[in-house]
């Protein structure tokens, strides 16, 4: 794969330095070259990279790094810290108006994902902020953009203000704001047509919409896969409209998303949300630190832990641990665990969050076969309650029946039974170890269940 994380890139350089008693300025320079490569490969704009590398170099030639035993790791840490700073440090919240309604404008290039994000944002505002949003279909240019928003509105059971494609977008927006006042809808989200940042005529149209009622937020919607041009786009939109924030879309892909850094650094406007999937609820708050890790190819452990924590019930995890110790872990428990893992989202995405996961050969394109999990479930569902609690009784005849019932083969059933036995053995050993060492508990209740 063409994409190596910064950590891997630096490893080679650090190997060379390792033998030496101390790190020289030339060594730091060499390391900075690797930092530069990594950032450019992640699509961070070259100018931004240059400024950034300069800043980091100054810190890196400082005493701390030179005298450190692990200069490579020190450099990575400095890079990550600085990157996080550059990306805004803290999470940034959405602004609401005190005077109803709050107006939010969605702007951006064609195909960035404005319409989809409009729907997602409305969903988030209703769920997390208790708002009553009105979606406004002001994209009269792209064929069927109005229908798209109407369909999304239907899916979310949210009102959509649409006037076809005959009226001008400015007029539609004006009427929509009036309509929201009458209907006591407190948040108006205007979906505008995608346009090139160099298209002056269409930029003027956005200015006209903005002039109706000063929007509380103007979100620039940007595709996370954008390359070097991200700075031009962001700069132009910001100069002509004065954006208030950025929403980064399609971050569920495998792009590093260096555009985030470029945009942040030229506009100094915060990234407020990120689009993480095709489903309507896949819009999340932006975390600068996690983005920094991602750009550097360092995995996203924090998001993973958070996912595990929100989806795994602690009480149940404790109960399971007890069951492991007493070897009373049954197929029913196993089924429940599978369900929990599944709840966390597609497995290949979870794998990608693991640091170093991209280093494991064959995992860079992790092809996690979710249907395999479905097969396992089917096999277990085909067991009798007795078989589930005491799998020892499963003989050849029963295996045949289970295989037939689940549409699998006897081999599949055998494999699952063996895996289950192995797992039980392993867990028994582990919990045995824990007991000896004074019952030290695994400190990440949710996380360890992933690997059980």
């Amino acid at each position: 794969m063409a994409f190596e994380g910064l950590a891997e890139r630096l490893q080679g350089t650090v190997q060379k330095i390792k033998g030496k008693g101390k790190v020289s300025e030339a060594d730091v320079k060499e390391m900075m070259r690797e930092v530069r490569f990594a950032l450019i490969e992640a699509d961070v704009n070259l100018k931004v990279v240059k400024g950034f590398v300069k800043k980091v170099s100054e810190r890196a030639v400082g005493q701390d790094v030179m005298q450190s035993l692990t200069p490579g790791q020190q450099v990575v840490k400095i890079v990550k810290d600085e990157l996080t700073n550059l990306m805004g440090g803290e999470q940034s919240k959405i602004e609401f108006s005190t005077k109803q309604p709050t107006v939010i404008m969605m702007v951006g290039l064609q195909g960035a994902g404005k319409t989809t994000t409009t729907g997602k944002l409305a969903g988030v505002l209703r769920k997390k902020h208790n708002r009553k949003p009105l979606l406004v279909a002001a994209d009269v240019y792209r064929p069927a953009a109005v229908q798209q928003l109407e369909t999304i509105g239907k899916q979310l059971s949210l009102p959509v203000f649409s006037k076809g494609t005959e009226l001008s977008p400015v007029e539609i927006a004006r009427q929509a704001i009036e309509h929201a006042k009458e209907e006591h809808l407190d948040t108006v989200i205007i979906d505008t047509a995608g346009r090139l940042h160099v298209d002056e005529e269409l930029m003027q149209e956005l200015k006209d919409i903005r002039a109706l009622k000063e929007p509380d937020e103007i979100f620039l919607v940007v595709d996370a896969m954008t390359g070097q041009d991200a700075v031009n786009v962001a700069q132009n939109f910001n100069d002509s409209l004065g954006i208030s924030g950025v929403i980064l879309t399609k971050l569920d892909g495998d792009t590093r998303g260096g555009a985030a850094l470029s945009i942040r650094s030229v506009t100094e406007k915060p990234i407020k949300f990120v689009g993480m999937g095709e489903k309507m609820d896949a819009l999340e708050a932006f975390h600068p630190e996690r983005m920094a890790s991602r750009i550097l190819g360092m995995g996203d452990m924090l998001s993973l832990i958070e996912k595990a924590q929100t989806n795994v019930d602690e009480e149940r995890a404790k109960e399971l641990e007890e069951k492991f110790r007493t070897s009373s872990f049954t197929f029913d428990d196993f089924l429940e665990q599978l369900g929990q893992v599944k709840q966390m989202g597609p497995l290949d995405e979870i794998l990608k969050m693991l640091p170093g996961a991209n280093k494991i050969k064959g995992l860079e394109n992790a092809q996690v076969d979710e249907s395999q999990m479905d097969r396992v479930e089917a096999i277990i569902y085909s067991m009798t309650p007795q078989e589930k609690t005491t799998p020892e009784i499963i003989n050849a005849n029963r295996k045949k029946r289970i295989a037939r019932g689940s549409g699998t083969t006897i081999q599949d059933v055998n494999r699952l039974l063996k895996q289950f036995e192995d797992m039980k053995k392993m867990m028994k050993q582990m919990s045995g170890m824990n007991t000896k060492k004074g019952k030290k508990k695994m400190n990440l209740q949710g996380l360890d269940s992933l690997f059980k």
């Binding site: 490969e41 229908q147 595709d223 896969m225 786009v233 892909g253």
Partner: protein, 338 residues
Amino acid sequence: MSFFKKLKDKFSGNNEAVESTEKYKEGLTKTRTGFTSKINDLVARYRKVDEDFFEDLEEILLQADVGFETVMELMDQLRFEVQRQNVRDTSNVQSVISEKLVEIYQAGEEETNELNFSDDLTVILMVGVNGVGKTTTIGKLAHRFKQEGKTVMLAAGDTFRAGAIEQLDVWGQRVGVDVIKQSEGSDPAAVMYDAVRSAKSRGVDVLICDTAGRLQNKVNLMNELQKVHRVISREIPGAPHEVLLALDATTGQNALIQAQTFKEVTEVTGIVLTKLDGTAKGGIVLAIRSKLKIPVKFVGLGEQLDDLQPFDPQKYVYGLFAEGLDKEEQLENEEADK
């Protein structure tokens, strides 16, 4: 004769070529002012071809999204070439650069950018990530084929995204071609089956199949695409005759992974580089061509129906360097006047 002169000669005498070259020039105006004016600035700033010069050149290419590895390759070759030809004067370097860019693109192979048409029904499958302009490109392609006197049918294979079927339907009406569709949420493979069947029975020349945008790391969705591909080839051996990957010119290095993954799943035969009328340069196609050997077949240069042009690497580079050509020509004329 200089490279630019050769190019110019190549296109003059053929009106159609000149016209589309103009279109390239027009569409790439913004691109050009970025890229070529930088090269010109560079030439003006440096009298000698030295390391500083190469470093600046490297930066210009990196900012065009050409990608690190390809830029490094190009720089090595340029250094070698400059040494070999003993080019000291930076103004001569321009032509060496454009020659090299075209050469890297072609990678020594004479591959045609023509579409592969079947004598019978030709099936074209359009694939790509979300929001790159698949449906719009299909509309433009349909228009193009119709102009050429072919009968065209469209298949609304994006059954996932809200409004996608309506969007293709609008294009069908605009261009005046039939659209085969089912309801939103239905199985795309089933839509394709239907479409191929009715295309065959109605005896149309070209069937263009739309698919839902999907990020290349979504295994399930890629499997679905593979199934669509399989259904088409089962109905017509040898089909789809073309699998076109739509690529947004604004996309950075991820485009390489997109091309690679889509190629693995659907045997991509060509790329349509969309949205080249912005300020983005789409330099990543150089890397895609040289690493994966997928040729660019069309470029999208605007919002109009006829703004889809067959890709020609020399014209592409010509578009980037058009300013350089005009200047060189001027110089030549001045010299001739003396």
